[in-house]
């Protein structure tokens, strides 16, 4: 990233820091939901965008994080942030194991497998007596959303920076080699298994932590809400729209769909999910590389216009 981008970024971050203290609670809540989407999309992008192993089941970890954190808060009065972080840590061995199994599957089977994982984990969690099944869990009501706002904002920013750092260094290059030609990469000495599992783990920890924070934010979770497949749909749409395997793609995708979604959801709640699906389909057909590829084209067009 060049200096100008960093400067611009710093200004934006400063504005966002002041926001909760000056704007209405509705706007703060909206920006908070954007942070959540951005964080989730970056995490998904790290796995699906960079390694090419599309996962349709990221909500598995989101849900597990939600429930783990909620249970810690309710049963042992663990402070919410600590609970969320602990959930993130606890998810690691589970994600590593799951990853080791699932990542042996190629392409479509991995995707289907993860989709199944999400459904299964919802049912298992609902079965456990301590989760009260379908009636859900009630958490102590939250008094101020400022804490959650800053935590989610930090995660979003952190994931952006992480992706930027990874993108051009050797780790990122190796990840992308898996997407482009896995067998060839393997032959060239890239330890594809370890790389894939690493990406899978990161893509699991972040949703788990965010799920925990979200549970605290909502004060009430139930299996269908914590494991809501619409979360996956939205994340995929945002990632694809922005541009898979890019640094700015998830941000652009999340912002675009977040803003559009806020408009659509309020006006046409009936077709919100279908529209997300349509976005995915249209982007795949007509804008493969995502919005992020449109920007250089626009810049080139502008330069041309000024040159003549």
């Amino acid at each position: 990233m060049n200096r100008r981008t960093l400067a611009l970024g710093a200004i934006v971050v400063a504005i966002l820091c002041i926001l909760p203290f000056v704007a209405t609670s509705y706007i703060t809540a909206f920006v908070l939901s954007l942070f959540l989407s951005i964080g989730l999309t970056y995490a998904w992008n790290l796995l699906s965008g960079y390694t090419g192993y599309l996962s349709f089941g990221q909500v598995t970890f989101f849900g597990i994080g939600s429930y783990a954190t909620a249970l810690m808060i309710i049963n042992w009065q663990v402070p919410w942030l600590l609970g969320a972080l602990i959930s993130g840590v606890c998810v690691v061995p589970f994600a590593a194991l799951l990853g080791a199994i699932m990542l042996r599957l190629r392409g479509p089977f991995f995707a289907i497998g993860m989709l199944g994982c999400a459904q299964i984990s919802q049912r298992i969690v609902a079965q456990l007596p301590m989760t009260h099944g379908g009636s859900g869990l009630y958490l102590p009501p939250i008094q101020s959303i400022v804490g959650v706002y800053f935590v989610m904002g930090t995660v979003a920013l952190g994931m952006l920076l992480l992706t930027a750092a990874i993108h051009s260094n050797s780790f990122g290059l190796r990840l992308r080699s898996i997407r482009d030609a896995e067998d060839a990469a393997e032959m060239l000495g890239v330890d594809t298994t370890r790389m894939k599992i690493a990406a899978f783990a990161i893509a699991s920890i972040v949703p788990a932590v965010l799920g925990g924070v979200d549970a605290w934010y909502l004060s009430y979770i139930s299996p269908p809400s914590a494991f809501n497949s619409a979360i996956d749909l939205q994340t995929v749409a945002m990632g694809v729209l922005g541009g898979l395997g890019t640094v700015w793609g998830p941000l652009i995708g999340a912002l675009t769909l977040g803003l559009l979604g806020e408009f659509f959801w309020a006006q046409f709640p009936q077709i919100h999910l279908g529209l997300l699906g349509l976005v995915i389909a249209l982007v795949v057909l007509y804008l493969r590389r995502g919005l992020v590829s449109v920007v250089p084209q626009l810049l080139r067009a502008r330069r041309k216009a000024f040159a003549t």
């Binding site: 209405t24 609670s25 509705y26 809540a29 049912r123 609902a126 009260h132 099944g133 379908g134 009636s135 859900g136 009630y138 009501p141 939250i142 909502l218 004060s219 009430y220 139930s222 269908p224 809400s225 809501n228 309020a266 709640p269 009936q270």
Partner: protein, 394 residues
């Protein structure tokens, strides 16, 4: 100015004059906006439809009487699609964006629970149409319940079973709010009264295939079968019970079997089914006759108890507002805490935590396509028919 424009202006002026002179004496105060979400689609949408009609009838009545605190009442309604999360977001929007003056409840324990969390967060009085006592146990200050606790729903049906000398009961429930209270509540009560629970389980929401659960039920061969669920589950279970040729002497079903649409959904198979109720069209609550007349005129059918529940909830909220003399939510909630009145729906009295202790539960049975109250005896309109006839003879 040209002749055409002059005559147009004259006509417009004349119309305005007529409008101003002819308009009814509407209070030109700023309206009071009451916000809520309702399930226009999804699992509980049929029951929720009745709720909405009850609300709308109340709105018509109160506006005809000059409004609330002298101001007309308007509604702001969203569709929550029977989904708790959606409802929570919608209430957040109603309170922070649309800035409504008052809120009333969506339908269903699960959806209302989620909405109640938002109500509490923003300190808004919330008359919850939810039967789960868990709502009151959370220590929320602004949330109170209108219906009686679902834990006690089926006590009447169990009393009848015990009277008939039945020995065993199997209980199923959907894995969601109200059954999560109703099932253990019924099981405890059954055990305490000498009825042995031979099988008990929960099925996930949106289950359509009950065969594996019914395999257990068939093996256990109970005298009584109870399901706590909504319309899709009641209809599905009845269908599967018949399909697997399972006969029980007393069949008690959930919300679906308590709706007026039950005979249409199930035909003769649905006869002789027991359900729980807190209101029927023929009860003697104050204002009920007029409520029935107006409801039938407006909607062309008899009201279900949810409609009267909605109407009653609004009556309570209005009473609280009038007593408090303002829209201060804390004052309203305090005023409501002191009420002990009978609405169109049932008696209303809440305890310190907001749980409903005044409303009275009754048990009904479908006899020849008509729903009769069969228990307790002092409220009964007909004697119950037991044991249930065989499938072929219904």
């Amino acid at each position: 100015m040209p002749k055409r424009i002059r005559s147009a202006l004259a006509a417009a002026a004349a119309l305005c004059l007529v409008a101003i002179l002819g308009a009814p004496a509407v209070p030109d105060e700023k309206p009071i906006v009451i916000g809520f979400s309702i399930s226009m689609s999804g699992e509980v949408s049929d029951a929720a439809g009745y709720l909405r009609q009850g609300y709308e009838l109340w709105q018509k009545d109160i506006n005809a009487k000059g409004g609330l605190l002298g101001r007309p009442v308007e509604f702001k309604i969203y569709d929550d699609q029977s989904d708790p999360q959606t409802s929570a977001r919608l209430y957040e929007r109603l309170i922070t964006q649309d800035k409504v003056d008052l809120i009333i409840s969506p339908y269903g324990s699960a959806v209302s629970s989620a909405a109640s969390t938002i109500a509490e967060k923003y300190h808004m009085a919330f008359p919850a149409i939810a039967s789960t006592p868990a709502l009151a146990r959370r220590g929320y200050k602004y949330v109170f319940l209108i219906p009686a606790s679902s834990r006690d729903y089926y006590h009447g049906a169990i009393d009848v079973a015990v009277k008939m000398g039945y020995k065993t009961i199997a209980i199923l429930g959907e894995d969601s709010e109200y059954p999560r209270e109703a099932v253990p509540g019924s099981a405890e009560y059954a055990q305490a009264h000498g009825l042995k629970v031979v099988y008990q389980d929960f099925y996930p929401p949106k289950t359509t295939d009950f065969s594996s659960y019914l395999a257990h039920v068939k093996a256990a061969n109970p005298d009584v079968f109870l399901n706590a669920g909504y319309t899709p589950e009641d209809v599905g279970l009845l269908h599967d019970l018949k399909g697997q040729d399972i006969y029980v002497k007393e069949l008690v079903l959930g919300v679906g079997s308590s709706l007026p649409t039950w005979p249409k959904n199930t035909g003769t198979d649905g006869n002789y089914v027991f359900s729980a109720t807190q209101y029927e069209p023929f009860v003697n609550t104050p204002g009920n006759k007029q409520f029935l007349e107006e409801y039938e005129k407006a909607n062309g059918k008899t009201p279900d108890y949810r409609a009267s529940q909605a109407y009653g909830a609004c009556q309570i909220l209005a009473a609280g507002v009038e007593k408090a003399g303002s829209l201060d939510q804390a004052k309203i909630r305090d005023a409501i805490g002191k009420l002990d009145m009978t609405t169109v729906f049932n008696r209303f009295k809440i305890d310190a935590k907001g749980a409903q202790i005044g409303a009275r539960l009754m048990t009904t049975q479908w006899i020849n396509g008509k729903k009769e109250i069969v228990y307790p005896a002092d409220a009964a309109t007909a004697k119950y028919v037991l044991p249930t006839p065989e499938w072929a003879k219904r």
